[in-house]
């Protein structure tokens, strides 16, 4: 497992955990983002390009935004306040892993989820929903939010946040319950 020199990653408990599980910790050189480029690129907090050659013009430097970039776009598109950034981030992570396909070495289209099976228990219907879209969920008659089982409302309205990773359900933000 490759990590950078952050203080939290070098704690004693992490070292013990890794020793117990036969994990080799590989610390990269400090302040050298390119050695963590894959993950830094996924996060989008690096301001340099992978394998940026020496002497590359500064004006052409663009940030490697993947998670952050798409989270920002999702928030913009859904017109959601920025306090939902963590939900947008989680949602994009799940969508990227579950939906984005790439060609493997044998020329077959596969997603990361396919390669990492079993990794996720959601379905296409629960994942492929735009972030922040309006969702209406049915409530069972016995649910605590249902006040009148016969004539009262038995639904709840909200916005889609992200798919649950352990069950084929979704997380939603209820407008009524805030």
């Amino acid at each position: 497992m490759r990590i950078d020199g952050a203080k939290e990653f070098q704690s004693e408990e992490i070292r013990e955990y890794c020793a117990d599980n036969n994990v080799v910790l590989q610390l990269v050189v400090a302040y050298n983002h390119t050695m963590q480029a894959r993950v830094e690129g996924a996060i989008g907090c690096v301001e340099i390009i992978i394998d940026l050659p020496f002497g590359f013009p500064i004006n052409n430097i663009i940030s490697l935004g993947c998670v952050k970039q798409h989270s920002r776009t999702s928030l913009l598109h859904a017109n959601k306040p920025t306090r939902f950034w963590d939900d947008a981030t989680k949602d994009f992570s799940i969508k990227k892993v579950y939906l984005w396909a790439s060609t493997d070495t044998q020329g077959k289209l596969q997603t990361s989820h396919d390669r990492m099976q079993p990794a996720f228990f959601g379905t296409y219907k629960t994942v492929a929903v735009p972030f922040g879209s309006r969702v209406i969920a049915q409530l069972p008659r016995e649910h605590r939010l249902v006040k009148n089982g016969s004539f009262g409302d038995r639904f709840i309205e909200g916005t889609y946040l992200y798919s649950d990773s352990a069950t084929p359900c979704i997380w939603m933000f209820s407008i009524a319950l805030q």
Binding site: M1, I3, D4, Q26, T34, G55
Partner: protein, 286 residues
């Protein structure tokens, strides 16, 4: 009772004003179909996490969804939110893009061509050439006195970019005799520090390394993890809510999970969550 039809042409006659309506109706139908397909393309784009258009087509094909009739609409789709947040849409860099950048940098950093002052000037030996050759330091390594410190450091430097499972121990890196030949070459590959050079083989296996450099190397799932903190300050976090997220990525499969958190104090708990989520224990490869 209706009369029998004697002449089909007379019966199929459509007045001129009605023909014009039919043409307009057909145009209207086509226009509505176009709008519908555009809308479908937009839904696919947003529901797939605002990926680029070509990626959307690939995703649909991978899921087995029929999209031939939508392909031109998906490829031509423009998203306002994507335009408003410019930047890279993917964390992987294409080999062609890398090659272009490399060629560009070489052309900029290359020395200007010397002007020929007199014929036969090039054939004259340059007295300073021998002085420009690099030499290894004579200081020896404290652990292995038979090797100079320059060579020893060069080996460590090159092997930090290799797969950790190939070199579980630093002492093995120091004692690899294959690398000793390569360290004599002063042109240490600066690209070896990059992520794309992970798994690059040095020394006598350099030929195979060049061949492998173009193709991605997939490690088995759960054997090569990358972990780092992300700060949400650029996304606009609030102080009393989550401010960071830990991103754990499996390099071989490109599978990653983000864990939003308020503090950076307990990465171990989040790491355990990753293990629970993926259902995989770490595997140590020798």
């Amino acid at each position: 009772m209706l009369d029998e039809i004697d002449n089909v042409d007379d019966e199929g006659y459509v007045p001129a004003y009605l023909t014009q309506d039919r043409i307009e109706g057909r145009f209207q139908q086509r226009y509505e179909l176009m709008l519908q397909r555009r809308e479908t393309a937009e839904i696919y784009h947003t529901s797939h996490g605002h990926c680029n258009n070509r990626q959307t087509v690939l995703n649909l094909q991978a899921k087995g969804i029929e999209c031939n009739h939508l392909q031109r609409y998906i490829l031509a789709h423009r998203c306002d939110a994507c335009d408003a947040a410019p930047g890279r849409r993917h964390h992987r860099v294409k080999a062609t893009t890398k090659a272009k950048r490399k060629a560009k940098s070489i052309s900029k950093t290359a020395a200007p061509v010397a002007t020929v002052i007199a014929p036969g000037f090039e054939s004259l030996p340059n007295p300073h050439v021998e002085q420009l050759d690099l030499e290894h330091s004579t200081i020896t390594d404290a652990i292995d006195p038979t090797v100079t410190i320059t060579e020893s450091l060069a080996r460590l430097f090159q092997h930090t970019s290799k797969n950790p499972s190939d070199n579980p121990d630093i002492t093995q890196m120091r004692n690899m005799s294959v690398i000793a030949k390569d360290t004599a070459n002063p042109g240490i590959d600066t690209g070896a520090t990059g992520e794309g050079a992970t798994g690059r083989i040095c020394g006598s296996e350099g030929a195979t390394a060049n061949a492998n450099a173009t193709t991605p190397l997939f490690s088995p799932p759960g054997t090569d993890l990358r972990m780092d903190w992300g700060d949400a300050c650029s996304l606009g976090c609030l102080p009393d809510l989550n401010q960071y997220f830990l991103l754990v990525m499996d390099k071989g499969t490109e599978y990653f999970v983000s864990f939003p958190t308020k503090t950076r104090a307990s990465p171990l708990a989040l790491l355990k969550q990753f293990v629970t989520l993926t259902g995989r224990k770490f595997v140590f490869c020798e």
